[in-house]
């Protein structure tokens, strides 16, 4: 039942940021592949810039465990950054002493999963590479709660002054379901 809320088409809404600088966010999952610890989705954020009052990006999700380590080793994130951000989650402390060698067994009987989300390009036009006033060059350190479908986490960008920008989302309840598979 890990994946009850994680499926193609599931939506989560919430906000990114704090106080006055806080923006509504909705994510829609596109593909969910728990076997390979990956998923993809769109992230919509409102009001971030004047040019793009509605901004949608495509993102890749990596679930920490069998295929992805807590150690990011890319996207300009050093191990000390990793520790700093993962430590924001109380649940991380159980595993902190062996964080570099954690694998999927460590999460099987827990209520949470850890993830990284990396935005890759803009939707609909992937050719737009930069936006004034906004950047998707960083990535998110996230935690997901299996029992209630809540996400919480922090955006990291090496050049950002406003560190540890929080993101919180909860599952949008849906009564019906649809299905697709790649052929």
């Amino acid at each position: 039942m890990d994946s009850f809320y994680l499926y193609s088409g599931s939506r989560f809404e919430g906000k990114q940021g704090n106080g006055k600088a806080s923006y509504p966010v909705i994510i829609e999952l596109k593909t969910v592949d728990l076997v390979h610890s990956r998923f993809t989705g769109y992230l919509h954020i409102s009001g971030l810039t004047q040019e793009y009052p509605q901004l949608t990006t495509y993102f890749d999700g990596e679930i920490i465990g069998k295929h992805f380590s807590f150690v990011t080793n890319k996207w300009d994130a050093t191990e000390s950054v990793d520790l700093e951000y993962w430590s924001q989650f109380p649940e991380f402390h159980e595993i902190a002493h062996r964080w570099k060698i954690a694998n999927s067994d460590d999460f099987d009987d827990k209520d949470h999963l850890f993830m990284r989300w990396k935005e890759d390009f803009l939707v609909p036009d992937h050719r737009v590479t930069s936006i004034v006033g906004a950047s998707f060059a960083g990535f998110y350190y996230m935690k997901y709660s299996k029992s209630n479908g809540m996400f919480s986490g922090y955006y990291y960008h090496p050049k950002m002054i406003d560190k540890l920008q929080p993101l919180e989302l909860r599952y949008v309840r849906e009564r019906c379901s649809a299905t697709f598979e790649f052929c």
């Binding site: 379901s177 299905t179 790649f182």
Partner: protein
Amino acid sequence: DVQKWMGGELAESSVNALGSDDRDQCLKAVRSIKNATIGSNSKKRLYTNLGVIPKLERLLSSGDEELITQVVATLGSLINGTNPDSLKQIIESQIPIVLIQLLNHKSLKMVEATARTLKIFFRKPNAPHQLIFEERTLSGLVNLIKYTPENIAELAATILASFYTSRSYLEKSELLDRMRTYQTSLWASGAFEASMKLLFSNQTKVINAKSQESALRIVGFLSFMNLDICKSIAHHAKILDALNKLIRDSSPIIKLLAASCIANLSRCKIDTIVPLSDSATVAVVLKLLHTSDPEWIREEVPAALAHILIENEDLQRMVVDSDAITILISNLRDESASPSLIQSSLKALAAITELLEDGRRKVIDTGILPTIASFLENTSIGIRLAACDCIRSLSRSVKALRTALVDLEITPSLFKLLDDESVDIQTIALAALCNVILDFSPMKKMALENSGIKLICYKTSNSNVTIRMNAVWALKNLVFMADEETKESVLKELTPDGFFRLFKDPSEKIVILVAKLFRNMAFKHADWLVQRLDVSSIIQQLDSLFLESSPEILSEVLHAINNLTTGSDDTKTAIMNSPLIGKVILCASHPSAKVKIPIIWCI
């Protein structure tokens, strides 16, 4: 030019002499034509234009052994060139059939000459290879392998194996039926035992190498994705030992063919110790990717790799992490690359990118996509098919659909391929379209214009089961999270009756897809669907599916019912008051998790 004119005159008189009643004159003429044409493409063309082939054909029924032997050799010479006309005329005549009959002749000299010519003939991709698979031909060839001297045995084995080497069609699980028929005939003819004889006999070195190659091709063909045959083969411990030895042979082609055989046996997971682990086998083949001696092996290695990787994620991972992609891409960019090399490399890339996102991204990042797209319009069926399969593998990715593939503007080309002369290509193009028309694909809109929906709906009643399946799959994906307008377009083309008819397809795989299609149609548009299809027809249809249906179908039916209950109160009431609800409750105690999970949604 006097010499040329004299040559022309001489040629004409030789050809005329073929019809002479004087047997010696006739024989002299045949010899002269044979000698003139060997090694000269222009002479082959000249004599063909003078009508030599029908005249030679007539002489094949003369009953005169010496004469016939010379005629056969001459035909071999005419085939063995670059003149497409000579080959075409021979293919369209009775000559191939007559030659095959001559393989049964009592004179070994005649048999050898015939086998030599047939070997050259069947090396040509356009040759009618299905002739080899007639029962009498198969048993005739197998007898030659078993009972004649090594030089003839080798020729027979090569003819038998030529089907394998000249195929230009893709073998994937859904296209295997045709191949199974051939495998069954070949096995029944005793070809495996004959191949074993070739692998273990003491022959002269040169013949040995060629015989081994043919024997391995035959075993490779027999064992490809055929569990029954693999089980039988695995009982012969000798063959496993032989393969273990041959994969270490110094000849690259023997190594490659032995690796293919081992991979085929390993795939069937029989309880016998297969000589080499899968990864060791792949390592051998990856190394061979770097070999270009002999030059033609470059064409064979990628295709062999593609076969080994089918549906095997771990091996695909291994290959993605190697330098294989780089080599294959450079093959595609090589201006002097032969059509076989292009086709083979495309096949390998399609296999490598089938299951892993990392592989797809690595390939896309090389910028090779426009080149692959250009091969969709190639004149060769094999190349078009392999290119289409590449696109299909790559389209199994949201990112690829939204970026590299949309830049390619691939949709019109794929739709065009739906009407390709090759049914195999139609099938794969339709599969690629299944992905291209997904909700998150920017190409969806283009697909829907230009009667795209009409074309796909039309394919749902195709006689070919795989095309029908892919068409229903495409519709299912098309209406996934789609708006009412899109769903209405589909229903308008299918018509309500047509839609319900889909549920009656004899293939269970298709019925599951139809149920999914129905579920997606009902998603968020329950009222619309109920109004269009009439609620009692819907209830009746879903009710009938509860009888003896597999967990897969039940699961979709439950989801569909759940989706229907999210409509207006009227819709909800109609469903809740129908026999369906009783059936849903019964499903709560179904043993399969697939069935239980949708129940949670219902609650």
